[in-house]
């Protein structure tokens, strides 16, 4: 028994099976990420003043990762086109570049961007104690300018004892009245050597920048985590199609391998597209 239209197209639909399958799968993926992004929108609209952070992520690194993903989307198309022209050698190289792009993206995300956040510290100040930390928050000036209040002090946690946290401040808390700090920066500013002592009894809640820190980081880690799992899945599939085992399929039926690359390429474009939404929503806006 053989199932028809696995490789050739069905005349009246003009499609082979897996192509319909992958588009349906992508439709469900749109709904999955749609659910997560709509949660992001809900949470952001609902966020109390000062609780939704801006400019905490590394924009140049994010831009580089965006470029890497877009490039991999181009190379996967070139890989597919090479197969269609029956040039296996070129396919092999393009596929290798695609895989490396995916691996670099994941490495940057997991080994650089995430850990950097895990080392960053933030303390939300109780409303009644905000005045004590005015020199780090600059709320008087912000109120006059009609800006959202600052309720959080961030930086690197040097040490803590039973009574207080000792924090090396982020520039935004080191010079809160500097108008340059009102907007996020494209180039991330390093933590200053200015130290602040925050009394624990003034702190509403203080954690590292983990998912639990606020709803912004909750959605950031959930969405980029799920996106990263999709990248990983794509990379694994590409590795399978790049290994010698797929060369044997190529020798037997090159069109079959081309179809496989086309289908997984479509998935890869989708993963790319999700990132095109993730990048502005979390890094820029």
């Amino acid at each position: 028994m053989e199932i028809p239209y696995t490789i050739s197209t069905r005349p009246d639909t003009g499609l082979w099976n897996a192509k319909i399958g992958i588009w349906l799968f992508l439709a469900s993926e749109v709904m999955l990420f749609g659910g997560l992004f709509s949660a992001y929108i809900f949470l952001r609209i609902d966020a109390a003043p000062g609780t939704w952070p801006h400019g905490l992520l590394n924009v140049p690194v994010g831009t580089m990762n965006t470029a890497i993903l877009i490039m991999s989307s181009v190379t996967v198309v070139l890989a597919w086109a090479s197969l269609k022209m029956r040039r296996y050698r070129a396919y092999w190289w393009y596929m290798l570049v695609t895989i490396l792009c995916g691996v670099i993206f994941l490495t940057v995300k997991l080994a650089y961007e995430w850990p950097q956040k895990f080392e960053h510290f933030g303390a939300y100040i109780k409303p009644e104690a905000l005045w004590k930390y005015e020199k780090y928050l600059g709320n008087q000036r912000r109120t006059e300018k009609g800006l959202e209040p600052r309720i959080e002090i961030t930086g690197h946690l040097h040490s803590q004892n039973a009574k207080e946290y000792e924090v090396a401040l982020d520039p935004v808390n080191a010079e809160p009245d500097n108008p340059a700090m009102d907007r996020p920066h494209f180039l991330p500013l390093p933590v200053t050597d200015k130290i602040a002592n925050i009394e624990k009894e003034d702190v509403l809640r203080a954690t590292m920048f983990l998912p639990t820190h606020n709803t912004y980081f909750a959605s950031y880690f959930t969405i980029t985590g799920l996106h990263g799992m999709h990248v990983l899945g794509g990379v694994l599939v590409f590795i399978y199609m790049w290994l010698p085992v797929s060369k044997r399929l190529y020798q037997r039926n090159p069109e079959h391998l081309a179809n496989r690359v086309e289908v997984s390429g479509l998935f890869w474009h989708f993963v790319d597209l999700v990132w095109i939404f993730v990048f502005p929503l979390f890094y820029l806006l």
Partner: protein, 627 residues
């Protein structure tokens, strides 16, 4: 079921190398890790039936507590604590936590591990490829993956009964913030606790449905036999097609919600947790800023299409059986098809009618009230077309037909009692009462489950080559029908009298349940007859279980088309071999050509070519001659 490959000696003419058609698969590959759509369908069916029965048992336990609150359960009450843990039923008396677990898991198991796998996956897998004349599903390995994802999900749900603290107990809807904090704290494992396992199990069940849905849609689009155009598809195939789209598009937002609730529980995020939350009298250390309403929106965005996932396959099954047993074409085939498509579309924009108690605002309520009433139109069209299909037919009251005809009024009651709930103002009164329980159970219990029983009796001969016993089928049918109504009809009255659906003591301690009498009994007193009907209905399933297994090996042997039906699955051998058809079928006509004028038999199968004589017979008569 013993689809032996040796039957495959007649090769299909479009020859590819015959070598790989003669693999003798081992027993494990043939019956357990199979990629054959029929075996997978039967696996789904058996698992689904087991889960249905298990879910029903949970409810039978709850019915004891409702009818006789605080009394020790006789006989089995002694050994239940040994199974479910000492804290569940000390001395045979049910604890509130265990009662809540049973309620939550009854809903979850019945819907997601029982009815969906049976109605969609089992019947869809077994029947759809046969009805469209396909050799298998388009992606057999994905199909097997779908079944195994379901099996893992089901096992995780079952395991959750045996972890410290017991299974999930926040209702089958798992509303937050309650669900975010249940099964946490001392004595609970951070991962292996009821609610977290519920979430993890759900991820597997959702993945299973997604894989299945993709496979079904692709199969129906790509593998229809030659000549089987869209408007020649049996209605069952259409119903499964729309159902697959519902699963494909409605489940992922719930998966997103489940991932977020999992994050709330495991990574202590606050997706669904508002600021300033106090649990057990103490403020909890969370960031807050989340939205409990967000969970409800995402849950019901699945939840409502899910209702149609439960009912549409039953519609499909009933349509096939009505046409077959009334020996008459299905009335209004086209309007049925368009109705089912409209239902599919509308079901995505009615979800918030489950949330009127949350105070979303009048504008939102007005919108969803309108769409909810709109969706009743195609549903009524379908039910009316079914009733009209019976008109003037020469009805054969076979066992499948009994269940199918009983489906019509039962679903009708369920549907019509939903209309008051569609109105915001009426719903505020009826919400969370037994009225709701009665309403949706009329749709899914005597509705869908009757459809499923009908389907089992109807397609059993195709799967096994043997018929189930008629007499015992009737012994199964009549008590089940009567008990269903004794169970659910009084619940409408209880609900209208104001009885709340989540009372652990069945209303014993509440004035409203003891003051008013309905037909001589108070609301609380009605619990006992309802419970007895439920237990008797449990006994009434014994003939079915015995009949089912006995008939697999000892049932009356029948030919390939015992019901004298018209659709393509009846042209395949019973049981169909691997690859299904001996000759690749071609469809020449519509699916329900019963009692064709001028035909010798009262049924003409889809693969019978249209003869020239028939063409002339079918021509419309010439202009009437006026004298």
């Amino acid at each position: 079921m013993d689809a032996s490959t040796s039957v495959e000696t007649h090769h299909e003419p479009h020859g590819h190398d015959a070598a790989h058609e003669h693999h003798e698969l081992g027993w494990w590959r043939k019956y357990i890790f199979s990629t054959d759509h029929k075996v997978i369908g039967i696996q789904y069916g058996l698992c689904g039936l087991v889960f249905l029965f298990f879910g029903f048992c949970l409810m039978m336990l709850m019915r004891w507590q409702l009818a006789y609150p605080g009394q020790a359960l006789p006989v089995i009450g002694k050994w239940l604590p040994h199974i479910f843990g000492a804290g569940t039923m000390p001395d045979g008396k049910m604890t509130p936590d265990f009662y809540n677990s049973l309620g939550a898991m009854h809903g979850t198991i019945m819907i997601f591990a029982g009815v969906v796998p049976l109605a969609f996956a089992a019947f869809g897998n077994f029947v759809v490829p046969l009805q469209i004349g396909a050799p298998d599903m388009t992606f057999p390995k994905v199909n097997a993956a779908s079944f195994w994802a379901f099996a893992v999900g089901g096992v995780i749900m079952m395991i959750s009964f045996f972890v410290p603290g017991g299974a999930a107990k926040s209702g089958w809807t798992s509303y937050t913030p309650l669900a975010a904090f249940s099964d946490t704290g001392p004595g609970h494992n951070p991962v292996f606790n009821g609610q977290t396992l519920w979430l993890i199990g759900f991820i597997f069940l959702i993945s299973s449905s997604l894989l299945g849905a993709i496979n079904f849609i692709t199969t129906i689009i790509q593998l229809r036999a030659k000549g089987l155009t869209w408007m020649r598809l049996p209605f069952f195939v259409w119903a499964q097609f729309v159902t697959a789209f519902l699963l494909l598009l409605a489940f992922p937002p719930l998966e997103a919600a489940i991932v977020m609730q999992l994050m709330d529980r495991v990574a202590h995020t606050s997706f669904f947790l508002p600021s300033g939350l106090v649990v057990n009298g103490a403020p909890v250390s969370i960031s807050g800023g989340g939205s409990p309403l967000l969970w409800q929106h995402l849950f019901w965005f699945l939840g409502h299409p899910e209702v149609y996932v439960l009912i549409l396959p039953a519609f499909g099954i009933v349509a096939e059986i009505l046409a077959n047993n009334s020996r008459k074409p299905l009335w209004g085939y086209k309007s049925l098809v368009f109705s089912v498509l409209v239902i599919g579309f509308l079901s995505f924009i009615v979800w918030a009618h489950h949330m009127w108690m949350t105070g979303m605002g009048t504008a939102v309520s007005a919108f969803f009230q309108t769409t909810t009433l709109l969706i009743s139109i195609p549903s009524v069209i379908i039910l009316s077309a079914f009733f009209i299909s019976l008109w003037g037919g020469s009805i054969r009251f076979t066992v499948p037909m009994l269940f199918a005809t009983a489906f019509l009024p039962m679903f009708g009651i369920g549907g019509l009692t939903g209309i008051p709930l569609a109105f915001n103002s009426a719903d505020l009164y009826l919400h969370d009462t037994y009225y709701i329980i009665a309403h949706f159970h009329y749709i899914v219990a005597p509705g869908t489950i009757f459809g499923l029983f009908a389907g089992i009796y109807y397609w059993f001969p195709k799967a096994t080559g043997r018929k189930m016993n008629d007499f015992w089928g009737k012994v199964h049918f009549w008590p089940t029908l009567i008990c269903m109504n004794v169970i659910f009809l009084p619940m409408f009255l209880q609900g209208m009298a104001g009885m709340h659906r989540r009372w652990y003591d069945g209303g014993q301690g509440w004035t409203v349940a003891n003051e008013h009498t309905i037909w001589g009994l108070t609301g609380f007193q009605w619990n006992a007859p309802i419970s007895w009907a439920a237990w008797i209905m449990g006994l009434a399933q014994i003939p079915f279980i015995i009949n089912f297994f006995w008939s697999i090996w000892h049932g009356q042997k029948v030919n390939d088309n015992p019901w004298e039906a018209t659709t393509l699955e009846w042209t395949a051998p019973s049981p169909p071999p691997h690859g299904n058809f001996i000759h690749t079928p071609v469809a020449y006509r519509g699916p329900y050509e019963y009692s064709l004028p001028g035909s010798e038999r009262d049924y003409t199968m889809q693969n019978e070519p249209v003869e020239p004589a028939e063409r002339t017979r079918r021509k419309p008569p010439a202009e009437p001659v006026l004298v």
